[in-house]
Symmetry: C2
Subunit: 422 residues, 2 copies
């Protein structure tokens, strides 16, 4: 049985919202060719900027092709730090603390190890992490705990919300080495209380590592002001760096002396070109870098940083909220009223407000099949096992019109599951 869609409220007028959107002009700066009519997965892989072919042309012909190896001296050696400072500025980090390089997983490993090793020396042997954190975060912690003989203290997260400050307060103790949490939960979009949790962990003497993958470039973060110790994040979601673009790391300046990471490479040595007989770590953030910086892989990231800096985080957050609120209202109109196979779809994300990030998850047992059908018609959210469709709202590239079109299609395809197969 299917309930009919409710009467459309006048507020749900995508055309009016796009016309009034001060950032609307930016949506045309992205590649929008092809069959995709509604892209709702910018929180997994951001769209490319349309001027990237020209940027790659210049990079290949000039920076790489003409300057050749000289570009290392002229700009590339500093690139992980110059771009790191710019990404850092988006998350409240003063210069000198953030850097680009490696995958998110490898950077997590380095920084978890750095924190765990330093704290283990002080007799702290527990790592606190939640059971709904992104798999890589959990897997890295499992590996480090196993190899360093440490214990994991699991927090049971609410899948539709996240980790509450009180849960962290109960979990930390004089045994806690490190608390690792995601600022924005990858499924629900719940925004954790970054400053409050950091303070609670510090009261217990623990260090805190925040995963900012679903925050950077879309949610304001104040790493320095919140006293955060460590952070990592990726650059291919809201920073549109392209598939597999490198991650960024942050280590608060006060920890540069005391923390060391285990992957000792030539780029992290005090004197890179001395190539001396024994490793001596650089005194600054460069000690957290290992191998040759991934320069080619940061061309798209740099382009997006220019646009993000031009627009500014407050305006980005404002549009992100408007898109997310709009998506929620459309879900209420097109999807949540539907009863299919004896079950209604349910919103598995927090209500509007400071604890909601830039994506929403809706659940229904038939969503794996629904998602496959949506992709075939050019409506592209993503599916997260076992039963979630995730709707990502990337403020610079997403129009209200494509949100409306996409969620209407979601409702249609869910309704279609009620029909017997032909």
């Amino acid at each position: 049985m299917i309930s009919p869609p409710a009467q459309r409220p006048t507020a749900l007028d995508a055309a009016r919202l796009d016309a009034a959107d001060p950032l609307a002009a930016h949506t045309a700066k992205f590649v929008r060719d092809g069959d995709v009519v509604s892209y709702l997965d910018g929180n997994s892989l951001g769209r490319p900027l349309a001027d990237l072919p020209q940027r790659f042309d210049r990079f290949v012909r000039h920076d790489w092709g003409e300057r050749l190896i000289r570009s290392w001296d002229e700009q590339w050696m500093e690139r992980p730090f110059a771009l790191g400072d710019r990404v850092g500025a988006l998350v409240g980090a003063a210069p000198g603390q953030a850097f680009i390089g490696d995958s998110t997983t490898v950077l997590l490993y380095k920084l978890v190890r750095a924190a765990a090793d330093a704290q283990a020396a002080a007799g702290r042997t527990e790592i606190v992490v939640d059971d709904d954190n992104f798999p890589t975060d959990r897997f890295v912690v499992e590996g480090v705990a196993a190899e360093r003989g440490m214990t994991i203290r699991w927090i049971a997260a609410d899948p539709a919300a996240g980790v509450a400050l009180e849960q962290v307060r109960e979990a930390v103790s004089e045994r806690t080495a490190l608390v690792l949490l995601s600022h924005v939960a990858y499924r629900s979009g719940f925004v954790a209380d970054l400053a409050g949790i950091t303070a609670v962990a510090h009261e217990a003497g623990a260090l805190v590592l925040w995963d900012l993958c679903h925050s950077v470039g879309v949610i304001p973060v104040e790493l320095d002001a919140s006293g955060v110790d460590l952070a990592v994040g990726c650059t291919y979601k809201y920073l549109n760096g392209g598939p597999g673009s490198p991650a960024f790391g942050y280590v608060a300046a006060r920890h540069h002396d005391a923390l060391a990471q285990p992957i000792q490479g030539w780029m992290g040595a005090a004197d890179v070109f001395a190539m001396g007989p024994r490793f001596e770590a650089a005194p600054d953030r460069r000690r957290f870098v290992s191998g040759t910086p991934p320069v080619l892989a940061t061309v798209a990231l740099e382009a997006m940083l220019e646009l993000v800096e031009e627009v500014g985080m407050p305006a980005l957050r404002e549009k992100s909220i408007a898109l997310t609120d709009f998506a929620e209202a459309l879900l209420a109109e097109h999807v949540l009223p539907l009863e299919v196979g004896g079950r209604c779809a349910a919103l598995a994300s927090p209500p509007a407000g400071p604890h909601r990030g830039s994506h929403l998850t809706v659940t229904h047992p038939s969503f794996r099949a629904v998602n496959a059908r949506l992709w075939q018609r050019g409506v592209v959210p993503d599916f997260r096992a076992p039963d979630g469709i995730r709707i990502g709202l990337s403020p610079l590239s997403t129009t209200f019109a494509e949100v409306e079109l996409g969620i209407a299609a979601l409702g249609e395809e869910l309704r279609g599951q009620d029909r017997p197969a032909a």
Copy 2:
């Protein structure tokens, strides 16, 4: 005092050599704009192929821009392995054993740890490495030895040659966990006896990890046939993957069950999208991958692989030898006879033959200054402290004419050091 250059032998005729070169036409397929008249550093950063702007255009507009997240299912998830197999084929690896990802340093760390941890469990606690190996190789081993309580057994390499088989035979024992060596020495260009050393290490029960950074794409290697256990290499030298393009790793299939690396990430899990509660490593080579594959960073590598596969390793090696022999003869004519500041320049590389790779190093106390002047006039070798100029001969992109021009300029600039500053 300066000795005059010797009379030019007729064999040193660059124009004739270029005209007779069966691979000559390929040199025009690379970007050759700008002020560089002689590029002798393709062993550090290969030149870009001239068609890369079109390839990036297609990648940005189609693979990324139109297919968006769907490209992960359609091609990108398999890309580290599809490209890994192609790189593997260049070094004698059957499919299923090589993969792309991370930096060389990070891959070295993973595979040194994998070998060291497995062998330590069998009571083997020494790692054998030579004191002239590339700094990252040495630094990684230092770090792993320190954290795992292992001992490093240093082999004293001959800086102008390399590590001899007999030295390895003396170094290995029932205590040896791993032997880590470079196939081609980064300074001298000495080619180690890969098969012989591997066999000697195996007789002692040790595993062997070969660094192929200066081999892959230029020197034939037979990993499978030589019984090698592990290998790593980079793709921005003779595979022209661009600055900081990702590394490749090789783990012989017989070790996939027994070896585990410490950086447990979502891409190395048995079921990537299950996102289950606990990490279970993939049964195959994917267990050596950690984070999201660096797709964008492999566009240039793929282009070069097509060309390398078209030409084939035997023809590449043949031209590499011809270029290197030519460079040696030119050095004998233009550089080695010069006495400047009371010192003659000296060749710090092996003689022609199977133990010479695709670069030569010449040493002189004034070469730091000489190299700076060469770069100003568009002649680009590289300088390696304390006194070496390294001349890399990348067979697909280097003409005999630019080798002649570059080495003649080297002679002029060295002679110029004899004059008092103006």
